[in-house]
Amino acid sequence: MKTKNRDQSLSDSRELDGSYDQLTDSIEDDFELSTVCHRPESMDKLQDQTKFTKKELQVLYRGFKNECPSGVVNEENFKTIYSQFFPQGDSSMYAHFLFEAFDTDKNGSVSFEDFVFGLSIILRGTINDRLNWAFNLYDLNKDGCITKEEMLDIMKSIYDMMGKCTYPNMQDEAPREHVENFFQKMDRNKDGVVTIEEFIESCQKDENIMQSMQLFDNVI
């Protein structure tokens, strides 16, 4: 007789109807939990492939493994973690885009390698590398150019993170307006899309952006 480990709830009318037979249900299904455990490549390899030192990799991995003991982050976890930094707004959309950008092999989960490669580019890469990565983030369908719709999605997600309580009050057209602004700046040939070359060229010419790149000093 197979032992039953489900709750026997009398309130479940399915049992009374006789349409749900617990006795023959296999319980082995319960134990087939997906215990995926991912181990990253050795530290030496990671050191070669990224621009982090050994100590930095150690700190990063410890933090990563603590949050995700199984060694991979799935999108839900990712969103949860990221949302804790932005309590006022809704960061789920932007977290989704980030996830897509980090998950380079498109397997639905971010492993430590993906994580570290991404961080290496952003934090230790050249300005061009960073701009490339940003472009990759914006290009949602990865076709090499950013359309206005894609940009609008990104913009909306960023504005969503602000939440409602802002000063001055958040207007509904703010994202759209911002997108227009962006395209005006970036779209050289006014063909309605921004290609990677246009993007990098325009960014390099923009003083603000270049100066803001110092944002990534001392992050780790």
């Binding site: 990221y82 990104i154 911002h178 000093d217």
Partner: protein
Amino acid sequence: MAAGVATWLPFARAAAVGWLPLARKTMPRPPVDKSSRSDEILFVNVSGQRFQTWKNTLDRYPDTLLGSSEKEFFFNEDTQEYFFDRDPEMFRHILNFYRTGKLHYPRHECVQAFDEELAFYGIVPEIIGDCCMEEYRDRKKENQERLAEDTEAGEATDTPLPDSATSRERLWRAFENPHTSTMALVFYYVTGFFIAVSVIANVVETVPCRPLKGTVKELPCGEKYSLAFFCMDTACVLIFTFEYLMRLFAAPCRCKFARSVMSVIDVVAIMPYYIGLVMPENEDVSGAFVTLRVFRVFRIFKFSRHSQGLRILGYTLKSCASELGFLLFSLTMAIIIFATVMFYAEKGTKGSSFTSIPASFWYTIVTMTTLGYGDMVPNTIAGKIFGSICSLSGVLVIALPVPVIVSNFSRIYHQNQRADKMRAQQKVRMARIRMAKKGTANAFLQFKEDGGLGDPDSNSSALCLKNRSAFENQHHHLLHCLEKTTNHEFTDEMAYSEMCLTESVGYRTSRSTSLSSQQGALNNGCCPRRARRRAAMRLANSTVSVSRGSGQELDTLPVKSTNLPLQTRSSLNARAVDIKLNCSDRDFTAAIISIPTPPSNTPDESPPSSPAIPGILRNTRATAYLQDAVKISSL
């Protein structure tokens, strides 16, 4: 923010690369972190067991002791580690909380000890993980209930009444607790006797007696000796009425008393008599009158005041109301079903007793409860089949709720037993504690006798001073200072009890515990409460006069336990640091005594002399003031 994700902050900051090209303004400069970036390992020594952890791990929860700068207070420069003089077993769980973000409750630990540890480390118990929260809550509730019971048991009924009690309060106390005075006890037994008499009279009334001379018909005794029974009935009712009126008069809240179960029973017991008096000897009404007499049997319920077991039973039934309701409901359902079936099965039979469905109810009930009188039996085959199914199912349906009721009864019964046992044991414990206290007080008096209070330089005192620890010397010096301040001296019990004999019996407990009578006189006048507290303080320095009975112990001790902030514990702990073992031959040992005391009813004033209490017994280790307990330990 959950500090666990603090380690992901660099990632979040890196992700800001997505905002860079879109920003309309320049990004602000990043903060320069001058502190050493590299994570370091901290050593935490908890009562000898060394734990090591990353500093970042502890920093995750900055509002706790370990995560904030508060831990610097425990840093030991010599060994370069943080030292905590706490339970290492518990610390394991605390540290795991930092590591995993989930706090687990170890099931084998006492829930109060666990709570204390959490309070020490600044962790709120609410964050216990879901896996352990149930268990924790259950244990905590159980503990609190038990403590509440104990305080209830220790309170009220056993303590002697204050002088200022009105006669009404005294009367009420006498009714509620018959053991307080002989009068009450007598009254208790008298009422019990009369209840029994009344019930027996009701029963015997109906027994057939020999017929009167000259007649043939047998009469029930009630009619034969109607006058005698009437007199007995009147007497009983008079007593009951008197008792009821007295209780009503004495009750502190008359409306509440009038609505209580016992008073309703009392009224129902005596009403029929009065109604019978009032009603005329009318043929029509006498039928109703006879019915009323049935209510006289309710007098038997008055016994529940005399019997605790009955009360427990009643309470059990009340608490099992839902199970009983379910039993009733399911039985009703089954009865109706089976009665219907049996009726239709037996419909065809000639001369069948199953004349209607309600008539079949009787058969169904008798069968389901496996009584089987046999006055109604099915004749058809179908009827017999259904009848057997009926009896089988009856057993099952009745057997289901019964264990629940039984376990409820058992639980309540044991609780009651425990409460009684506690009360009995309390007295013994108090006596033992008093003995121990007498010892310490004697120490000081002995000290004085030896001339220790003389000039410290003189030779005579050198001998006795040699054998005492620095702590004792200082303590005795303190007591001496007090004597000099008040210009009175501490005396021993015998001298005091002589003084006491001259005082009246009903004096306040404070006076009886004070040795220096003037100190008592100073405080006793205005406020009995304050006097009680001072008595509690003096308790430490004086012998407790045993003459007043155990109640005063419970009186004075509770006052000592107040809601002192827990921080005082560390100061009290620190005090015991410089204790040396006393080699004096007058040493006597007393076991570690813990007195759980009821929470103080006077939270407004805190005893100022609490730091003096550690000096009560010789060689105290640690005296801890917990919210509800006074632990006095000595070697």
